[in-house]
Amino acid sequence: MTLLEFARGPGLYASLAVFVVGTLWRLAAILRRPALPDLSPAREGAPSKLAGALHANVRAMWPRPAFQHGTLAATLNGYAFHVGLALVVFGYAPHIAFVERVTGLSWPALPDAVMYLAASVTIVALLIALMMRIFDPVRRGISTADDAISWTLTFLPMFTGMAIASEPSSVILARQDVVYAGPLAVHLISLELLLLWFPFGKLMHSVLFALSRGASGVRLSHRGVGL
């Protein structure tokens, strides 16, 4: 078995299994923690729990004016690599072809030029995030091994992907053989490492953020706090 065969076969399916089972396990374990009902009467005119949770989710997407001075740069940088990652993962034609091979699902791809721009912005934004974590005393003081591992495993697929995206996607997709088998295997393995780590570290926030925001939204909107 070649490295690419491993990456496309057992490596992929094993990492997907850990990703799915681990994520569900973590989610279920959190949601099964005890919950005390709030027996206090809600503020008159308070929204429903669902409305409070949704409102809090929308509100948290952008910092309040009072905080923009100190948080705008970090917020914009965060959006840069989140949006960039999403575009690259879901918009790049070879990625869509890969997903189609595995699941049968397909959707229109974005132009290569958009992908190159998104990937470049993402890599730069991730590097800026790393610099902030290393040089900002606040972030340095609260960082853990999870931050280093999660950053590395997010950066690696971007980096290894750029190394094999030297041709237009139409050329890559039209070709029957894989020219860069080694680099492609490394790229796939870097993705599989990300999937393996996902349930155990902070990357899980991509699932938990809505619940976390929603929980505070429910609590505060019950009290009539204007979110």
Binding site: R32, L39, A60, T71, A74, R139, K202, R223, G224
Partner: protein, 434 residues
């Protein structure tokens, strides 16, 4: 016992538990309290550090140790080891170090001296993490471990003995009689039946009886049937702030049970922020079911009386700025009520740069005002509020929490700032029309 010699770092301890037992007590408390919301919040943090930009202790000092989420570090480690989805794995592989007694000593300052549980950090957190509530969980464990600032522990012992940090209940009739005589107002006490049970903050039973008299004037003018009562009168609930759950329940029950006993339909809370947090939002938890009485803060009570026309006020017609008490506004939802009362007083409201749900805390909430050793830190924080008040150019500086007033007055005195902090209640009482 105080281990502090002069300046911080400081930690105090109570009792004679050996260190290992203290750690066990703290960890046991944490593990019991990790509910679904606390778990979601501890699991969702991406350690972006934005909470530091909301915390007045960090902004005033520039010290990264005051980053709000950092104050949760031992709690986070305890969670990972004891309650997280992969806790057995974490313990087996040693992925999170168990908190030690040294960690807890260091943590005491971060939890009690430099956190007001004001919740401003929640407003900036992109994950919506309620750090204030997690700090409270931390305080519960610290109390169990006997690791509370000594001044707060002293208040706790007093409240356990007297049911109040101010006075034993049997002295209440005399205190009220003196206040009534001093201010020329009738203050009923221990009536067997009343519609409203009126409670007080400890300071109102000592140096600040004017606030008590102001409440009495308003209630009497509105023609309401009310009383204070020796069996349940102190609303401040030091257990809520200290992390003493047993005391919090006892103090809560004393008020609710007394209200039920005298047939009251309403418990009226004083101008006190944490009283509101403890009674309005948490009393039912201790009561075990929906409360049989309505719990109201003085601000919403005034708002209702004015709206119903039961009292009328003569407009002052000058400019004012308003300090939003955290537990009443950001965590209590009474932002609009206070402004309606200010409007009834005819004030031209000049808002602080940061107001409403993003207002800065006075620096004294969460028991910090009573924690003497935190005074230098509190005074640094005061500068933020002072600058914002001065920038408004307002004639009056008003708030609706007695603890905030005391904190702000102490800060003003420290820096020689000649500015009176006025009570919304007292302004209403002083300006009531015939």
């Amino acid at each position: 016992m105080s281990a502090a010699a002069g300046q911080a770092p400081a930690f105090d301890s109570q009792g004679t538990l050996p260190d290992a037992a203290r750690v066990d007590a703290a960890l046991g408390s944490f593990a019991r309290e990790f509910g679904v919301t606390a778990s979601l919040h501890l699991e969702s943090c991406v350690r972006c550090g934005l909470c530091a930009d909301a915390c007045h202790f960090h902004l005033a000092t520039g010290d990264p140790k005051y980053t709000p989420v950092r104050k949760l570090e031992p709690l986070r480690r305890a969670y990972l080891r004891e309650a997280s989805p992969f806790a057995p794995l974490v313990r087996a592989l040693g992925l999170a170090r168990a908190p030690t007694i040294d960690d807890l000593h260091e943590w005491q300052e971060l939890l009690y001296d430099s956190c007001n549980m004001c919740g401003r950090c929640t407003m900036v957190c992109p994950m919506g993490i309620d750090i204030a509530e997690l700090v409270r969980l931390g305080r519960h464990g610290m109390f169990k471990a006997g690791l509370v600032p000594e001044r707060l522990a002293l208040m706790d012992r007093t409240a356990r003995q007297w049911g109040s940090t101010a006075t034993p209940g049997e002295d209440l009739p005399d205190i009220l009689a003196e206040a009534a005589a001093e201010h020329g107002v009738e203050i009923p006490c221990d009536l067997p039946q009343a519609d409203i049970l009126v409670t007080a903050a400890p300071a109102e039973l000592g140096e600040h009886t004017k606030a008590l008299a102001a409440a009495a004037k308003v209630l009497n003018r509105a023609g309401l049937r009310w009383t204070m009562h020796r069996e349940g009168f102190d609303a401040s609930n030091v257990g809520f702030n200290n992390g003493d759950l047993e005391l919090q329940e006892r103090l809560t029950r004393s008020i609710i049970d007394t209200a039920v006993k005298i047939g009251a339909h309403t418990v009226l809370l004083p101008e006190c922020g944490h009283a509101y947090g403890a009674a309005r939002w948490e009393a039912a938890k201790w009561y075990g079911k929906a409360l049989p009485v309505r719990v109201m803060h003085m601000t919403e009570f005034l708002d209702e009386l004015i709206a119903q026309g039961r009292i009328r006020v003569n407009p002052i017609g000058e400019s004012a700025t308003f300090h939003d008490p955290c537990q009443i506004v950001r965590r209590g939802g009474l932002e609009a009520a206070a402004r309606r009362v200010l409007g009834a007083l005819g004030f031209e409201l000049l808002e602080l740069q940061d107001h409403g749900t993003t207002a800065f805390c006075c620096g004294g909430g969460g028991g910090v005002v009573s924690n003497q050793r935190a005074t230098p830190l509190r005074h640094k924080v005061f500068r933020i509020k002072q600058e914002q008040v001065e920038a408004t150019g307002a004639r009056h500086f008003v708030t609706s929490c007695g603890q905030c007033r005391i904190t702000l007055e102490q800060g003003a005195k420290h820096v020689g700032w000649n500015r009176e902090v006025e009570s919304l209640l007292e302004l209403v009482a002083d300006r009531m029309a015939d």
